[in-house]
């Protein structure tokens, strides 16, 4: 195995691999955090948008006279108000005269003394709507003659196309003994997050700043309290960037939702306009404004040899791009992360058609995490076609971990043109993961629709393999210094949004500096430059690369400072104490650290505390950069390293259509376990996602009106804790990741829409698109 990460061969870990109390989770458990919805300040006004009752409509005329006249109403702004003009763009605006989804903010915003007054004022706004055609499925919006939904983006078409090709797809099909074709359809799932999007803003005097006043902004951009977000205000108002502060650190957990809500954007505008704090909060219904997985229709054509080897894969995807402001249209770059690159088959083609719709903002533009659902589905379809065990299909096709450049050099650089698709040797990480999973579960592949449980339900299993993406490809910045009390302080820019990267970073710093992680303090400061998050939760281990480097540098600085100081202390003991016969002459190499002190290796009783070192000035270290490129990010699977295996077991009640996931089993080569609790949490959340995708989650629209029927957590079936299935998990440590100590990551590739689908097929012998709800099961069985 290559040793990518620094100290990849380190054996002696005192903290890494164990658990520390999570700095942020402890705060939450104690009830300290203030989330944006908790921010209430004196003299505060409330704001609310007019929202569209239609899935697609333009305002023909609007009269706000009565709303403005309502006592208690402070302001009513139409979309064409001069205050809003600078914030209107080609594809997305803070407010305009057209709504391209139901419940979208449109036309006007009201500011009043109370939320109820806002509602009353909104009811007084008279609107004449031009109701426009709408589409809830890309299959409809891409049709010839369909109404153009986003003419400012493209006046002629709702659709964009993307494709990738490798090898000779036709030759691959000619080589095949059999051709397999199948379809798969995915429903929309929500990016709903439990904390409502909120914008709270007000102006404070600033006696030191050049502008004399500062805009305080709570809520922030959903992807972070990013100072860059203030650019639009600085451009519009002539303010400087330092006149904006984002003190709200707590935004709640969310999954790949990078969109800034209009309530957040408009709050500072309204605060500046009214001279008072303004708060806009989204309702539970409003929160269903962003999809996680949009609608997709997939078709696969796969060439096969009779022994199960794949000779060609041609997959086509028709996906929805969503409304204006979505991230998806033309930006489906993640399609190129084709999991079939991990196979020996070199003849691969992907065509994507992405078409605008009137369903939702699609912030998560990529197909399901790194398209691994395609692979999972294909394994089982091939297994069905050839009567094979899907694990055998996988092992028949996956390539080894060698690469075309031979062993990685000392610089450990992975080149984009490397490939391992000629290496027919077993992939050691996957083989080890499958073996480990089989130790946790007695994998016996039954023929579909054959195994009945004692209670009469049908038993089914499925298999998924994946390669950890670890897409921590952004720049990370780490800063640590010794505090007066000897603890290590790490200033850190927030916000907190459910990723525990910070804890593993402080563990890496603690490991290197020689101090208990609880004495590495994460000091949240919105003005701090340093941040540890980027590129998703998998990226946590990528950020440890630079956390470790920061710790190494800080330790070096400590020892450099300590050597002469300890030498001086030892050679000049207090009065009445005998000096050493031979004076010490110490260098940093003579010293080491432990528990916040520096000690003499030759005599560990000779120490000096970190805090004592500060008498000669600050001790600090900075480290910044990208982690080394990962095999997945660089070669999209043509070079393989850390692999994982999942088993899903289901029981299907053929009399009611109920599907129960009875077991999850996961064995993952994570490179190096950094913080066990975080790792287990990532696995648990991924399996909850799989459960939701598999069994219940979907947006349901009224087809006649385009109104979303289930924008609440009763009718939208996100799994509850009682629906959580135990996960038997084990972790392997090949130390081949690109994070510190060869750590990798987990989560994205273990989320799957298809594991449950495949297990249900194994149980009852029919294919059902997710979510696999009782009505679909009974219909597939001819009972409904």
């Amino acid at each position: 195995m290559p040793d990518y990460g620094p100290s990849g061969d380190r054996k002696d870990f005192k903290y890494i691999g164990g658990n520390t109390i999570g700095a942020l989770s402890l705060s939450i458990a104690k009830g300290y955090p203030k989330f944006p919805q908790d921010i209430v300040v004196p003299n505060m006004l409330h704001g609310k948008f007019l929202r569209s009752p239609y899935a697609h409509a333009r305002i023909k005329s609007i009269d706000i006279t009565k709303a403005k006249a309502l006592p208690g109403v402070v302001a009513v702004l139409k979309w064409d108000d001069p205050a809003l003009k600078p914030f209107q763009g080609t594809t997305n605006s803070v407010l305009d005269d057209e709504a391209d989804k139901w419940d979208q903010e449109v036309g006007a915003v009201v500011v009043a003394e109370t939320e109820e007054l806002c509602d009353q004022a909104l009811a007084l706004i008279q609107v004449e709507w031009d109701v426009l055609p709408f589409y809830l499925d890309p299959l409809d919006s891409m049709k010839s003659g369909a109404a153009i939904l986003q003419p400012k983006r493209d006046p002629k078409s709702n659709t964009t196309f993307i494709n990738w090709t490798q090898g000779d797809i036709e030759a691959g099909f000619k080589e095949a003994d059999q051709i397999l074709e199948f379809d798969f359809n995915e429903s929309m799932t929500t990016a709903f997050h439990p904390n409502p999007a909120v914008g709270v803003a007000w102006i404070e005097g600033d006696e030191y700043g050049p502008g004399g006043q500062t805009m305080i902004m709570h809520g922030g951009a959903t992807n972070g309290a990013n100072p860059m977000a203030s650019n639009q205000y600085t451009r519009a108002w002539g303010w400087t960037g330092d006149q904006f502060r984002y003190p709200n650190m707590w935004q709640g957990g969310r999954y790949c939702d990078f969109g800034t809500r209009r309530s957040t954007t408009i709050a500072p505008i309204l605060a500046k306009l009214t001279g008072r704090p303004v708060r806009l909060i989204q309702s539970r219904q409003n929160q269903f404004d962003c999809t996680n997985v949009p609608i997709r229709h997939l078709h696969f054509k796969i060439g096969l040899k009779n022994d199960g080897r794949i000779t060609a894969v041609y997959d086509t995807m028709i996906g929805e791009a969503g409304t204006r402001g979505s991230a998806a249209l033309g930006q489906n770059g993640d399609l190129k992360y084709n999991p079939f690159y991990t196979t020996l088959c070199k003849n691969l083609k992907t065509d994507g058609t992405i078409s605008a719709t009137n369903t939702s903002t699609v912030q998560f533009g990529q197909p399901h995490p790194f398209v691994w659902h395609n692979m999972t589905l294909a394994l089982h379809k091939i297994a069905e076609k050839l009567g094979m065990d899907p694990i055998d299909v996988a092992l028949k096709n996956i390539h080894g971990n060698a690469n075309s450049s031979g062993p990685l050099g000392p610089d450990k650089v992975i080149l984009a043109n490397m490939t391992g698709q000629d290496d027919a040797a077993p992939q050691p990480s996957l083989v080890a993961a499958i073996q480990a999973a089989k130790k946790l579960y007695d994998w016996q592949w039954p023929k579909p629709n054959t195994k009945k449980l004692a209670d009469g339900r049908m038993h089914g299993i499925s298999f998924h393999f994946g390669m950890c993406p670890r897409h921590g490809e952004t720049y990370y910045s780490m800063f640590a210094y010794i505090n007066q009390d000897g603890r290590v302080i790490m200033p850190l820019r927030g916000p907190w949004r459910g990723i525990y990267t910070e804890d593993i970073c402080r563990m890496a710093v603690a490991e290197e500096v020689g101090i208990d992680p609880k004495d590495v303090v994460l000091k949240y400061d919105t003005n701090a430059f340093t941040h540890m998050i980027g590129g998703g939760s998998d990226a946590g281990t990528g950020s440890t690369y630079w956390a470790r480097e920061c710790g190494v540098k800080l330790k070096a600085a400590i020892l450099e400072r300590a050597a002469p100081m300890l030498q001086n202390n030892l050679n000049n003991p207090p009065a009445g104490t005998t000096p050493p016969a031979t004076p010490y002459k110490l260098t940093p190499a003579d010293l080491d650290t432990k528990d916040g002190t520096v000690f003499l290796k030759a005599d560990p009783t000779k120490t000096i505390a970190f805090s004592a070192l500060l008498s000669q000035g600050v001790l600090a270290a900075v480290a910044a950069g990208k982690p080394p490129p990962s095999a997945w990010m660089t070669t999209q699977g043509r070079v393989t390293d850390l692999m994982d295996a999942i088993f899903c077991e289901v029981a299907v009640d053929t009399e009611t259509g109920a599907v129960e996931i009875s077991k999850w089993v996961l064995a993952a080569d994570v490179g190096k376990v950094m913080r066990l609790r975080s790792l287990e949490g990532q696995v648990e959340q991924s399996m909850i996602i799989n459960t939701g995708y598999g069994l219940g989650e979907e947006w349901v629209f009224d087809k006649a009106t385009g109104v979303l029927l289930n924008p609440n957590l009763i009718d939208y079936k996100k799994p509850t804790m009682l629906d959580r299935t135990p996960v038997d998990m084990t972790f392997l440590e090949s130390r081949a990741g690109n994070g510190a100590y060869g750590g990798g990551g987990i989560s994205h590739n273990i989320a799957s829409t298809t594991l449950v689908t495949c297990a249900v097929w194994n149980a009852i012998g029919v294919w059902i698109d997710p979510p696999i709800t009782p009505d679909k099961v009974l219909k597939a069985l001819g009972k409904a």
Partner: protein, 318 residues
């Protein structure tokens, strides 16, 4: 949420007087009401909420004359946890235990559960987006729309929405009586389909007590609930069965605008031993009159299965 007056009732008479004008609504646990108010689903908004939790002696559960009396403000969690109910009125305790979530059961009351409004995502769409029949409109939007959770036994007054109560079928199966400030009703006669209410209660009529008759000799009962999730969800179908001797009372809910007494199933099993074949026949009889909408066909199979399984669950153990 809009502003409203909130008054703490001192007595049932106080509360009834407050309701008389038709502009006030009762609040006990509030688990259904507050959601409705937040989502503003109805064309009109109540001017006043009358808190009945402050009325003395509405929260009780005790045995009397061989039966059980339950105050209307008794919490669902207490009903679920009561040993006497678990032993002798099993279906009711099981039903209470399957309502929503622990938090809801800690707040929700038996009176609120049996008077809650129906579940229909058109009816409950926020801001009264769909002004349906139950709000004074002219259309049941579910007929042409997405009706996967709707009635399989046709409409009542044009409405295909279902009664969602878990306790309702148990109370009917157990032949309970429901006492109000005006009268005593058989549970069988308590539910109705009105604008927008789900009971026969008059505007100023308040449920004060639920009475369970003495259990017959050898009586058994059980409750089954089918939902997508194991918590929170309202039933896609639920079923309560009680048996005494060779007769059974079989009630389904979540399948019709009112709780559905499966009398054909009762007739099918009457006088017969409960075995797999007879229970299956009773299940088939239970849905013999089903007329599902296109999206709700699957519920017929589930209802049939639940009747069969509930009967087998109360069959004498040999």
């Amino acid at each position: 949420m809009k502003a409203f007056n909130h008054v703490d009732a001192k007595s049932v008479a106080d509360a009834a007087a407050a309701l008389a004008g038709g502009k006030a609504v009762l609040i006990a646990g509030g688990t259904d009401l507050l959601g409705r108010l937040k989502d503003d689903i109805l064309p009109t908004y109540p001017e006043m909420l009358v808190n009945v939790k402050t009325i003395p002696n509405l929260d009780y559960l005790y045995a009397q004359d061989g039966g059980i009396k339950i105050g209307a403000a008794t919490r669902l969690a207490d009903i679920a946890a009561n040993l006497a109910l678990q032993n002798d009125y099993t279906a009711l305790a099981q039903a209470a235990a399957r309502v929503a979530t622990p938090h809801v059961r800690d707040m929700g009351t038996i009176g609120g559960n049996i008077t809650q409004l129906h579940r229909c995502w058109y009816f409950r769409s926020a801001g009264n987006r769909f002004n349906c029949l139950r709000k004074g409109g002219t259309t049941c939007f579910a007929v042409a729309g997405d009706n996967r959770y709707h009635s399989i036994f046709g409409a009542v007054n044009g409405c295909f929405a279902v009664n969602p109560s878990d306790l309702a079928p148990a109370l009917i199966a157990l032949d309970a009586k429901i006492v109000t400030n005006k009268r005593t009703l058989a549970a069988q006669d308590f539910w109705d389909v009105k604008l927008p209410g789900n009971t026969v209660l008059a505007v100023d009529e308040i449920v004060t007590e639920v009475q369970l008759p003495p259990p017959g000799k050898g009586a058994q009962s059980t409750f089954y609930k089918f939902a997508i999730r194991k918590s929170i969800d309202f039933a896609i179908v639920n079923c309560a069965v009680s048996t005494t001797g060779t007769s059974a009372r079989i009630v389904l809910n979540g399948v019709a605008p009112k709780p559905y007494r499966a009398t054909k199933a009762e007739a099918a099993i009457a006088g017969k031993p409960i075995n797999d074949a007879n229970a299956d026949a009773a299940g088939a009889a239970a849905v013999a009159d089903a007329a599902p909408l296109p999206g709700s066909k699957y519920k017929v199979q589930i209802a049939r299965t639940l009747v069969k399984r509930a009967l087998l669950a109360v069959a004498p153990k040999t």
